[in-house]
């Protein structure tokens, strides 16, 4: 495989579109497959999130990118250069570690300068670059401090500055918010995105936190058991989940089993034992009559009221079993006659608005033709 990737003559814009190519990467540990034939193309300048639970293979894939693990099979190509055989210290890739891994015996300044010194850059140039980095993360005043004298948020910014100091082609973030408390998290997420976007670096991050991935990333790859389940923008993944796993992993969802009844080019109807009336979808899908599918609809897409809606389909009758009050909205758990339980969000747009509905009330739930998704797997 000694082919020079640059000689393949890919056009310049295609190079930006496929800046980082992960081609059929597989990683096995003693017969256990952690990453299973993953292929991804990552664009130049984007923040790409690998999202998944523990054991999904996301961290192993990140470690393959950093060079700490060697893929059993497959290729990693960054900016036209094959990375597989390069040790971590020769890759133009830097990583911000989960617990930051700041060098405890060095000051903030020395931590940031570490990688530059390693490259044998002149002292003046290093000082200038470290100054720029400190300014970027707004830590100029703390340059002489040791890591243990900094707060969690400050440590994170030092770690970020250290990993950006060498101007890497690819920045890796391993659970970037993992060590911060919840309140600091949401602030740092946006701050981190701002800094990364200012520096223009391409970024791959790993997280198990869907909110973090949706807030920070331009695109998300959802991983499970070493496989990529879906790749897409945050709203694509949320609104158009590719399968049951994707629908259930992100946010909350009502899932019912159904079969395709009518399959027309501009609409589809589903039969389900869950509801008394049929499900009507306002667009065509790839399927065939009689095919078993799942129907997914998010709780906030459901409307809830005591009166029966006028529409002949896309509705269900039930009894309120539980109410979860979240302040901004309430979630009603409604038990249908079929035994299925549906969740419906009710936005509390007015104060005390939710007082009208209470436990044991008979209510109707309904949704629009394009509010739900048909999942074939």
């Amino acid at each position: 495989m000694a082919i020079n990737e640059r000689a393949n003559g890919t056009p310049a814009d295609a190079g930006a579109e496929r800046y980082l190519r992960i081609e059929g990467v597989r990683k096995e540990f003693d017969g256990f497959v952690a990453v299973d034939d993953v292929s991804l193309d990552i664009r130049k300048g984007e923040i790409f999130a690998l999202l998944g639970g523990s054991g999904s293979g996301k961290s192993t894939l990140l470690r393959c990118l950093a060079g700490f693990e060697r893929p059993t099979k497959g290729k990693i190509v960054l900016d036209g250069e094959v990375m597989n055989d390069l040790p971590p210290y020769e890759r133009p890739i830097n990583m911000m570690f989960q617990s930051y891994a700041l060098f405890p015996h060095m000051t903030v300044e020395q931590n940031i300068a570490f990688g530059l010194k390693q490259d044998g850059i002149a002292k003046d140039a290093i000082r200038k670059r470290v100054g720029e980095m400190l300014e970027m993360v707004q830590l100029g005043k703390l340059a002489k401090r040791k890591p243990h004298q900094l707060s969690g948020g400050q440590q994170q910014r030092v770690a970020l500055a250290r990993s950006l100091a060498k101007g890497p082609k690819l920045l890796l973030l391993d659970e970037p918010m993992g060590a911060l408390d919840k309140k600091l998290r949401s602030r740092m997420q946006l701050e981190l995105v701002n800094i990364i976007e200012t520096s223009g670096v391409t970024c791959v991050m790993v997280t198990h936190d869907q909110e973090e991935a949706m807030t920070m990333a331009t695109r998300i790859a959802l991983m499970d058991q070493g496989w990529i389940q879906q790749v897409g923008t945050p709203d694509e993944i949320y609104e158009q989940p590719a399968n049951r796993f994707a629908a259930e992993f992100i946010g909350s969802v009502n899932l019912v089993n159904a079969t395709i009844d009518e399959d027309e080019p501009d609409y589809v109807t589903l039969k389900t034992p869950a509801f008394e009336s049929p499900i009507h979808i306002g667009h065509g899908i790839t399927g065939f009559p009689g095919q078993a599918v799942s129907f997914a609809v998010r709780p906030e897409k459901l409307d809830i009221a005591k009166n029966e809606p006028a529409q002949p389909h896309n509705k269900a009758r039930g009894t309120i079993e539980d109410i979860a009050y979240f302040g901004s909205h309430s979630v009603y758990h409604v038990r249908l006659p079929s035994g299925i339980k549906l969740m419906a969000n009710f936005a509390n747009e007015q104060r005390w608005a939710s007082e009208g509905l209470t436990w044991g009330d008979q209510v109707w739930l309904w949704w629009g033709d394009n509010d739900g998704v048909v999942l074939t797997s």
Binding site: A66, Y89, E90, A101, F103, H148
Partner: protein
């Protein structure tokens, strides 16, 4: 109410726990030390004990006579000065050798799997369960002209005439390094095993080759272990008597042997005491440096 108030002045259980080791130190460390200090200021006498008292009450006059002659002799007689310098040199070189051998040992033990790690640690510690004297004496059997080493080398045809190692300074070095190696390995191991391996990954990630990461991360972070190990080897090695006596030749000059000679051969208790006191003062310097460093390290951790 009164009983309660009084109870505050009655030593409690906590007090007793602290008092026992303090009493022990006072009885078996501080008082003997003061006696040695006293003898060092007295004069040699043909008597029992063989020195003059420093405090005398004669003719209604209490006289305190501090004889500095023993100390003056230490600094004017080149024999003593040479012995001190030679002791420090031998101890320093032995410490360095222990560090050079012990650091890689500790490093690789710390990197082993936890199960094999314990076996390796046992292998380091196990020899010290045998009597110190016996282990040193075993080296006589190894290094002797007719010893195991020479017979093996001659048997293999590497050498024709036996190597003269026993009763040379080299044998003393071998003995000291062998006996004190565990004291170097254990603190280094305890330090290195705590090293966060993610720091090394971070260093590689930032462009450091493994040996550079070792020099810039592992080595500086193990400084406390290096200092502790060096102190534990250096301090007892300076005063070492048994090893140079049994393995070293007559030219292996160490202060422990001088002390022995003064005490047992010359029966000059005052001179021997002065030798011991000065040795203690010399050792006090590295101990103080060590303590200050440890103190600083602790402060750094806490703030």
């Amino acid at each position: 109410m009164n009983a309660r108030a009084l109870k505050r002045f009655v030593p409690g259980g906590r007090w007793a726990v602290i008092a026992v080791p303090f009493l022990w130190l006072l009885l078996f460390f501080a008082i003997p030390f003061l006696i040695v200090l006293k003898i060092s200021f007295s004069r040699l006498a043909i008597a029992m004990p063989p020195y003059t008292p420093i405090l005398e009450y004669v003719d209604k006059a209490l006289t305190l006579r501090l004889n500095l002659g023993n100390y003056v002799a230490l600094f004017t007689d080149s024999q003593y000065v040479l012995a001190y310098l030679s002791s420090i040199k031998i101890a320093a070189i032995s410490t360095l050798l222990c560090l050079l051998i012990g650091y890689p040992m500790a490093y690789f033990i710390a990197r082993m799997k936890p199960s094999t790690r314990n076996i390796a640690l046992m292998a380091v510690v196990l020899p010290s369960w045998i009597s110190f004297l016996l282990r040193v004496y075993a080296w006589v059997g190894i290094l002797d002209a007719n010893g195991i080493l020479n017979r093996a080398l001659m048997g293999l045809g590497v050498i024709d005439t036996p190597l003269r190692i026993l009763y040379t300074p080299l044998a003393a070095y071998i003995g000291i390094v062998y006996c004190y190696l565990p004291f170097m390995v254990l603190p280094l191991y305890a330090n290195l095993v705590k090293l966060d391996l993610r720091l090394l990954e971070a260093a590689y990630d930032l462009g450091a080759k493994p040996w550079q990461a070792f020099l810039r991360i592992t080595l500086p972070l193990s400084r406390a272990g290096i200092i502790a190990g060096c102190m534990l080897v250096m301090i007892p090695a300076v005063g070492e008597f048994v090893i140079p006596e049994m393995l070293g030749g007559p030219d292996t000059l160490m202060i422990g042997r001088v002390l022995w000679g003064e005490f047992f051969n010359n029966r000059d208790w005052p001179a021997a005491s002065a030798v011991a006191i000065v040795m203690l003062l010399i050792l006090l310097v590295p101990i103080l440096i060590f303590n200050r460093y440890q103190h600083k390290e602790m402060e750094g951790r806490l703030t």
